[in-house]
């Protein structure tokens, strides 16, 4: 028993230290702490994604719901409309892509990591099927059931799932590593700017308050990037984004394909307990 516990303590120590120790971000902590102390919580108008972007969306789609219908904006804004057409086309393409089945490959890279992380998968939102694979793991969603293959084989997750569960394995649902969330936000016109250059659109959005339960959360992650369209289908083919995190930038590339193709997901045989 003692040996057991000693081994456990050694193992925990090894596991906890295996990524090295980054420098203490004293300046960041003090800056955030002082801001929070001054009570500048007014910036956090919403706990969900997109403080900057929400304002921009309100300009582009004033009077429309979060997911605007196809067609021109319901209310003219009186401001320059130069950026509206590409923004709307981008929104329509993202909406069109997100409502049918598609395959995706997501690559994410932090500067501190030697290799990019990759997820590949496919979803059929109408049928409620989807899967995503990464490293030696896989997640399958069939209706409201999610099955995860990890080190202990296939397990049924004890929570209600949906196709969005497939997207969420990469991290925060608000961040660019979520291929479904990105389409949803682009479809909602949730971009501060969307300028077209042939088949490529640029966008800028943000998110905050997604990682902790801290009510005084103060940092916002800005996401800038481009969206490349598939010229034949007019759907989203590739999103390249950079997220500006306090600890450094993260690059994310999502490639979409297989629009409208059937997605086959089999219910796995469960292992173990």
């Amino acid at each position: 028993m003692t040996t057991d516990l000693e081994e456990l303590a050694d193992g925990l120590h090894s596991l906890a230290h295996r990524n090295g120790i980054p420098p203490v971000p004293v300046d960041t902590l003090l800056a955030r702490g002082r801001r929070a102390r001054r009570g500048r919580a007014g910036m956090l108008a919403t706990a969900t994604a997109g403080t900057v972007a929400a304002a921009a969306a309100a300009i582009a789609f004033a009077g429309t719901p979060a997911t605007p219908p196809a067609g021109p904006p319901a209310v003219a804004t009186g401001r320059s409309t130069a950026g509206e057409a590409p923004a709307m086309r981008l929104a329509a393409a993202a909406r069109d892509t997100s409502t049918g089945s598609f395959r995706f490959t997501t690559n994410s890279r932090w500067p501190s990591e030697d290799e990019a992380q990759t997820w590949t998968g496919a979803v059929d939102p109408r049928a409620g099927f989807g899967y995503v694979r990464w490293d030696d793991s896989e997640l399958r969603v069939i209706g409201t059931a999610a099955y995860l293959r990890g080190a202990n084989g296939w397990q049924l997750l004890p929570r209600k799932a949906s196709v969005a569960t497939v997207y969420s394995v990469g991290g925060s649902p608000a961040s660019a590593v979520d291929p479904g969330s990105m389409l949803k936000r682009l479809a909602a016109g949730d971009t501060a700017q969307a300028t077209k250059d042939q088949d490529t659109y640029s966008f800028r959005l943000s998110f905050d308050g997604q990682y902790t339960d801290a009510p005084g959360r103060t940092f916002t992650v800005l996401v800038t990037g481009t969206v490349k369209m598939d010229p034949r289908s007019g759907k989203v083919a590739k999103i390249s984004a950079e997220e500006a995190w306090p600890q450094g930038p993260r690059t994310v590339v999502i490639e979409y394909s297989g629009y409208g193709e059937p997605v086959s997901v089999q219910r796995p045989a469960l292992d173990g307990k």
Binding site: L12, L15, A16, R18, G33, W134, Y211, R217
Partner: protein, 175 residues
């Protein structure tokens, strides 16, 4: 005798000293609690920001380290309670961040830890990594010593079970 109220600067100095002194211990503890280095750093930074806001009170009337452990444990529990996304993130690829060298035993332990409930994991980490007593662990988790014992018993049984299976598998793979 008049008690001196610390100025902002001296308060900051003592806060900075505490953060520097305890950064490694708290970051590694957060890694074990969350299972992911990035989320651990986010969790710790958020807790340290909250601690800054309360520093004058905490540093005078409380044990800052014990207070921070409570914040880390509660922060991690709160995130877990928010729903399935967090549950999945517990198994996400970011938790299996690429390493320059393989760490098979580490990976087995990491995976086994993630199968524990957040409270069980917290007990294991605080007792066997942070080296807290049962009483201190109970204070961090805001539960009774009996509950800590029960969590620990179940957690260790599960870890033994999982790790003995994994070691067998790993041996087979290595051979």
């Amino acid at each position: 005798m008049i008690e001196e109220i610390p100025s902002s600067t001296s308060s900051d100095d003592s806060y900075i000293a505490f953060v520097r002194r305890s950064w490694q211990r708290n970051l590694t503890t957060a890694r074990l609690l969350t299972g992911d280095p990035h989320r651990a750093e986010e969790l710790l930074q958020d807790c340290l920001v909250k601690l800054y806001q309360r520093w004058r009170r905490v540093s005078r009337f409380d044990d800052p380290q014990a207070y921070l452990y409570r914040m880390l444990v509660n922060g991690n529990l709160s995130r877990w309670r928010r729903g399935s996304r967090e549950l999945l993130v517990a198994e996400s690829p970011e938790r299996a961040a690429p390493q320059t060298q393989p760490h098979l035993p580490d990976e087995a332990l990491r995976t086994a830890l993630l199968t524990l409930s957040p409270r069980q994991r917290a007990v294991v980490v605080l007792r066997h990594y942070a080296d807290l007593s049962e009483k201190e662990t109970a204070a961090a988790l805001k539960c009774s010593v009996g509950a800590v014992k029960a969590h620990q018993h179940r957690a260790l049984a599960r870890l033994r079970d999982l790790l003995s299976e994994t070691h067998m598998n790993l041996e087979r793979v290595i051979r």
